[in-house]
Amino acid sequence: MRLPDKTSTMSEAVAHITDGATVMLGGFGVPGTPFSLIRELVRQGQTGLTIIKNDANEKGMGVDHLLANGQVARLITTHIGLNPRAVAMMNAGEIEVEFCAQGILAERVRAGGAGLAGIVTDIAMETELANGKMRIEVKGAAGMVETALTADVALIHAARADVFGNLGYDATARNFNPLMAMAAGRVIAEAETVLPLGGLEPDAVHTPGPFVDHVVAMAGISEEYEIVRR
């Protein structure tokens, strides 16, 4: 027996994204954001996208290219304060933005990846983020339902992958990546290093290969991945 090889070119993998698709993007700020896959998505130009990502990156980086190129219809996120374009487009009604508490976004994605319909929580129940959400009492405590999130495609950044799609992340580049890698119908991972089978020790695997559909070797570490000098 031999585990299958899922390596793909960047353009072939990203071509699976259709107009109007829901796309999850890993990353918290720079670390873990799949900048190379996003660049290819900008080059291919699919439109009407719903983007699910913790943040909107900063000017000239990642999500900002998708916004500038008019590809985003809707953004589900926790904080966009570092991207003035995202804030301006939201205020002008050019994109629809749904805000979510950060850990609840993580749990909604995890629930989606775990085949659950949603979660029950008391987080943000007394804020405007609770508007329109179903209230429910569980074991005598008040809660509300947060629906699970899934996507058509997840774009993931890994430090290491093997050709089967086992992934390993570095430091705080892990963040939403392993959660989103479970929650999409098609999971595309870019990796800084692609190893042969056996190149990742089983205990060093953060995302197991069965969740991953395509492994794309990055051409290199472009400027977007590097230290931001503010």
Binding site: F28, G29, V30, P31, G32, N54, T77, T78, H79, I80, G81, L82, V87, M90, N91, V97, F99, A101, Q102, G103, I104, L105, A106, E107, V109, R110, T121, D122, I123, A124, E126, T127, E128, L129, A159, Y169, D170, A171, T172, A173, R174, N175, F176, N177, P178, L179, Y225, E226, I227, V228, R229, R230
Partner: protein, 210 residues
């Protein structure tokens, strides 16, 4: 203020320091002080902040500062990071504020029409940390008191703030409202009361200085 707030951190605590003023509190902790600093983006055991030339591109805190690890640090995903917060493992969080109400309500994430970037992880920190302290200037740039009877801005969480450190005073939020605990050097009770838009109780005896 940040030096005084640093004394709020007890040995052995797990602590999350919010963006802004609270981040500076860590400068007042001794290098060998036993504490575990947590950041939302997936690190327990934050080490010193690094200059760009020494930074790891994959190692930041939730505010985007390049940080480091210490012996015993751990990385984890965003779900684990907030499991830690919501399940009561976070002993203390220090947050900034636009407004704090005498009931302990906190507003620090949105000014309708002017500032609406989203709350990030702030709601869970405010709602679920075992102890919530606020670090803020006593009044805003226009001189308007930040400590009030009720918040006028959208709240982050209700009845969550335990203590407020300002440039003028240390004030506890109790069931009976704001209670003065300490005064900054050169500031009188009357000064603080005048800069507070809610009743301020004054305990008997001399008020300690910080």
């Amino acid at each position: 203020m940040t030096a005084r707030a640093a004394r709020e951190i007890a040995p052995g605590m797990v602590v999350n320091l919010g963006i802004g003023l609270p981040t500076k509190v860590v400068d007042h902790l001794a290098a060998d002080f036993p504490v575990c600093l947590h950041t939302e983006n997936g690190l327990s055991g934050i080490g010193p902040t690094l200059a760009p030339e020494h930074a790891d591109r994959n190692l930041i805190d939730a505010g985007g500062a390049y940080v480091s690890t210490v012996p015993g640090s751990a990385f984890f995903d965003s779900a684990v990071s907030f499991a830690l917060v919501r399940s009561g493992r976070l002993d203390l969080t220090m947050l900034g504020a636009f407004e704090v109400a005498e009931t302990g309500d906190l507003a620090n994430w949105k000014i309708p029409g002017r500032f609406s970037p989203g709350a990030g992880g702030g709601i869970e920190l405010a709602q679920k940390a075992r102890r919530v302290v606020v670090l803020t200037t006593h009044v805003d740039r226009d001189g308007v008191p930040k400590l009030r009877r009720a918040c006028t801005l959208p709240v982050t969480a209700r009845r969550c703030v335990d203590r407020v450190f300002t440039d003028m005073a240390v004030i506890d939020v109790t069931r009976a409202g704001f209670v003065l605990r300490e005064l900054a050097e050169g500031v009188s009770f009357a000064d603080v009361a005048a800069a507070t838009d809610a009743p301020l109780a004054r305990p008997k005896g001399e008020i300690p200085r910080f």
